[in-house]
Amino acid sequence: MTQSIATPTSRPVLFVLALVLVIALVFGLRAAFEKPSTELKTALTADKTAGSVIEVVDGRRLPGTGNIQIEDELVAIQRVTKDGSPVNSGILLLGNPDRFKIVERGAAGSSAVAHAAGAAVKEPGTLFFPENFASFGDAVDGLFYLILWITGIAFILTEAFWLYCLFAFWQKPGVRAHHSDGNHKLEIIWTLIPAAILVLIALLQAGMWREMKMEIPPAGSPDVFEAETAAQQFQWNFRLAGKDGKFGTVDDVPTVGELHVPVGKKIRMTQRSVDVIHSFFLPNFRVKQDVVPGLAIPVWFDCSKPGRYPIMCAELCGLGHTKMGATLVVHEVAEFDKWLAAESDKWQGENEGQDRPDWSGGSAKIWWWWDSNPMATKYQGDSKTR
């Protein structure tokens, strides 16, 4: 009865189709993940001036405009035609010239290109999540891979069964389908088994979630370092307490587009926004938290390795959302202490004696506004508002 065969024509056709699909998916994905032309990077390293045009053999996998990261430098490039005018009709599919003009270049973090865009290039070493540097991240990744295994097995079993049916049960002249309109025992089995697995996954994650989002390390303990965020369309303003260890004083260290923290410490941040919702996303630290106007939301993480890492805005916040990146700079502790002391002195020198600290730079207005605003201070440092 189960021996039904596909109609003579449909079976080979379907088989070939399935084969083509699988092969194409595998090869397509492999080809697609190849790195964008290293040739261009080499050319850019050699050619130092803005304004010049370079040619590469296969630049087709590069955008029409965009930034390319070369070591510590960011280069803005624009695809151009032979006479140097920008290519802006998108028919790039069909052999456009692979010429790029260097529009601008500057050290990462310099305003020349944009703050910190991709200042930390992490070519992901893994297929899925990027490399992790936070202490709670390994557990998250473990959970991810556990779910990947579970769903992977479920996927293979169900889809293999589906494929088997797809080949085995085409109509055969004169043969009737097996009659069955249900089976209580089976229904119970395939309700209880997934239920058990889902409960297991639910239980496993409860502790992780609490550790990451609910057990924020208390301010003031020696292994905790504090920082504040005031997100703004379209930049990240950060502030560290200066030498006096207090926020809202003249020696505070404000930064724009760069967050400096010491390695190894627990970083406790208060996230605020002054206009719309943004989202503080550290892909290498498994941190994401919407930053909501009207709320002061605590966030914590720690970092195990000094370096520069991307900070991304993950919530649509308007026209400039696409360029609302920043860099997390993780220093060795000693180096950090030195840096903080120097910065703190610098800001104190500038602000002392002034009625309102008239901090120059993009962040000044924000922090001044923040500290002197009665409505805002209602929320100052008050993490209970959540």
Binding site: S4, W162, A177, H179, F281, Y379
Partner: protein
């Protein structure tokens, strides 16, 4: 700024004039050609209304698809003009500027959800199929039914105008989170709110009608548990619509008032906008998200439950085998509907909502995966040991089942709160959305078009074209959307005009180009569908049989196409359950629901 200047209602009057103009044209047709008017314009026949929904949704589908191409074009070739967009929308940058990118993905999703999927499922197939399946002569309230269609038109007009009004279009995402949606200067966002508001009214009119029809208008012998699953799914969906849509309506009304009349439902204390005067309210930003998702989570099931019902009917017919576990299928739909109301917070895990609450929503979300799994197993068991007919709706139903598995499984990652931290607001979410809404629902819709087309228009669609469309779509779909899971978990954000600004995303350009090229193939395949659909309407092979697919349910007991207003020429009466395939009582043959009992009554299965 709107918020400060309050009270002057400054949306351009043009869209209103166009709505008015439409009414005038309709009135003129009514006077000049009353027959035409009663038949094609203000028809109160559920079959015509169903076709009206079908055609307008397919046309809007072209718009939505075009916007999707615009979005994907930018991701593959950032900074370049999308062909044709300059002429169409008057954007000199051809869609390359972030403000236009934001409009493209916002309107893509809004159009697809509010104008394509919901009206296709509920408006088109719900309308055409459900009264026929119940053996009813029409819907319970024909006038309300016509109203529900024509309420879509103000929405169509407002949304279409939102591209062209001064300022800019709606670009705060289809979720339109305030305060961003309140600070958007263009009138587009206001028109978006009004469009959604009218869609809401249309949905509510429809829901009331379906519920009443299903409760009151079933023909003799069609008990609730003899209803085909399509009718069940529309019943359950309508309950969802009725309970959830008023919440959306209230929410957009509040948003509109914040924008135009200076209220502050969603305006928080202490806010500055673009360095202008400080705006202070006493509202709560996150309140919108609660209201919005209280509607929109049930809405994602509104987007899929009817598809599940339709696929079940098509699958039983394709396999010539009863649906495995008819009652568990009904109960799991009801379970999904109930749980659907208590999981909305899973869209808000990272929103600043109390994380303890996030845990509650996590558990509810894990639970909702269960009825979904049960349905999958039942479909697979239906296919097992069947005798599948080589028909287009067979392919569609099979595609639905396999794509639903992927979309359902990826949901478990997002339900796991710590994992969701990493993938929220990335392309992994976009992959998930599309495996459920395109991979599942849209394939079910394709199948339904091929399946019910003969009953609707008395003609068949062209089969070779249909196979080509289905197979090319299926393959291109995988390439368009599967890699999104991978790039998303690697950190590629959604809703960013130029992701390659970020160094850590630059390596993902090639795979994005692959996805976009696949989309172009996918889009080309839809042209085949459009041609086949409109060509077959007038020139397809005639269908004169009542029951071309040898199906069992009541809609196949009408003449093809069903007679005028009233549908049935024979008294509709059901004598048994909906899936009399491989009926042992008939020697393994098909027994329709409406075949009068012969001497031998059909044997009862466990769930009969």
């Amino acid at each position: 700024m709107h918020l400060m200047e309050a009270t002057d209602f400054n949306v351009t009057t043009t869209p209103w004039l166009v709505v008015l103009g439409l009414a005038v044209v309709m009135a003129a047709i009514r006077l000049g050609a009353p027959k035409f008017y009663n038949h094609y314009i203000w028809s109160q026949d559920h079959k015509m209304i169903g076709k009206q929904f079908l055609v307008s949704s397919l046309l809007w589908g072209l718009v939505g698809g075009m916007l999707a191409i615009g979005v994907r074009w930018q991701l593959a070739w950032p900074g370049t003009k999308v062909p044709g967009f300059e002429q169409l929308f008057g954007w000199t940058d051809g869609g390359a500027a972030p403000e236009h990118y934001n409009i493209m993905f916002t309107m893509h999703a809004s159009v697809m959800i509010f104008f394509v999927i919901i009206p296709l499922l509920v408006g088109a197939f719900g309308n055409f199929v459900v009264p026929l399946q119940l053996g009813a002569q029409d819907m319970a309230f024909p006038f309300l039914n016509a109203l529900s269609y024509w309420l879509m038109w103000p929405a169509f007009i407002f949304m279409a105008f939102s591209f062209y009004v001064p300022g800019d279009g709606a670009g705060a995402g289809w979720t339109s989170y305030p305060p961003l949606s309140e600070t958007m200067l263009g009138d587009g966002q206001t028109l978006w709110c009004m469009g959604v508001w009218f869609v809401g009214w249309s949905s509510i009119c429809g829901a009331v009608n379906y519920i009443t029809t299903i409760v009151k208008m079933r023909a003799k012998g069609i008990t609730l548990f003899r209803m085909p699953l399509t009718a069940w799914s529309i019943f359950i969906t309508s309950i969802l619509v009725l309970c959830a849509t008023p919440v959306l309506g209230s929410a957009v009304t509040m948003l509109l008032m914040d924008r135009e009349f200076g209220s502050s439902f969603f305006v928080p204390a202490a806010r500055v906008v673009s360095e202008s005067a400080q705006v202070t309210g006493t509202g709560q930003v996150i309140l919108w998200q609660h209201l919005f998702w209280f509607y929109s989570h049930p809405a994602v099931y509104i987007l899929v439950l009817p598809a599940m019902g339709m696929v079940s009917d098509m699958l039983a017919n394709a396999c010539q085998k009863p649906i495995f576990g008819y009652r568990p299928m009904v109960y799991s739909m009801a379970g999904i509907a109930f749980l659907g109301f208590i999981v909305w917070g899973h869209h808000m895990f990272q929103s600043g909502m109390n994380p303890a609450l996030g845990r509650t929503f996590m558990i509810a979300t894990m639970m909702i995966a269960l009825p979904s799994a049960v349905k999958t197993f039942n479909w697979l068991a239906t296919i097992y040991r069947s005798q599948m007919k080589m028909e287009v709706h067979t392919l569609a139903a099979l595609a639905f089942v396999s794509m639903w598995i992927i979309g359902g499984l990826s949901g478990i990652f997002m339900a796991a709160t710590p994992v969701d931290i990493q993938i929220h607001d990335t392309y992994a979410i976009v992959a998930h959305i599309h495996y459920v809404v395109f991979g599942s629902t849209l394939f079910a819709v394709f199948g339904s078009i091929y399946y019910w087309f003969p009953k609707m228009f008395g003609r068949f669609m062209n089969k070779p074209l249909a196979y080509t469309h289905m197979i090319v779509t299926f393959i291109a779909f995988q390439f368009t959307f599967f890699p999104m899971h991978v790039v998303g978990s690697r950190g590629m954000l959604r809703r960013t005009a130029d992701p390659y600004y970020y160094g850590n995303l630059q390596g993902m350009l090639p795979v994005n180009q692959l996805m976009t090229q696949a989309l172009l193939v996918l889009a080309a395949a839809q042209v085949i569908l459009a041609i086949n659909f409109f060509w077959s309407m007038y020139a397809g092979k005639r269908c004169t049989e009542r029951n071309p697919w040898n199906a069992t349910t009541m809609e196949w007991n009408t003449p093809t196409p069903p007679v005028g207003h009233g549908n049935f020429d024979l008294v509709p009466e059901a004598h048994r359950g909906p899936y009399g395939y491989a009926d042992p009582a008939a020697g393994g043959d098909v027994t329709t629901q409406f075949a009068p009992p012969s001497g031998k009554p059909p044997t009862k299965g466990i769930h009969a």
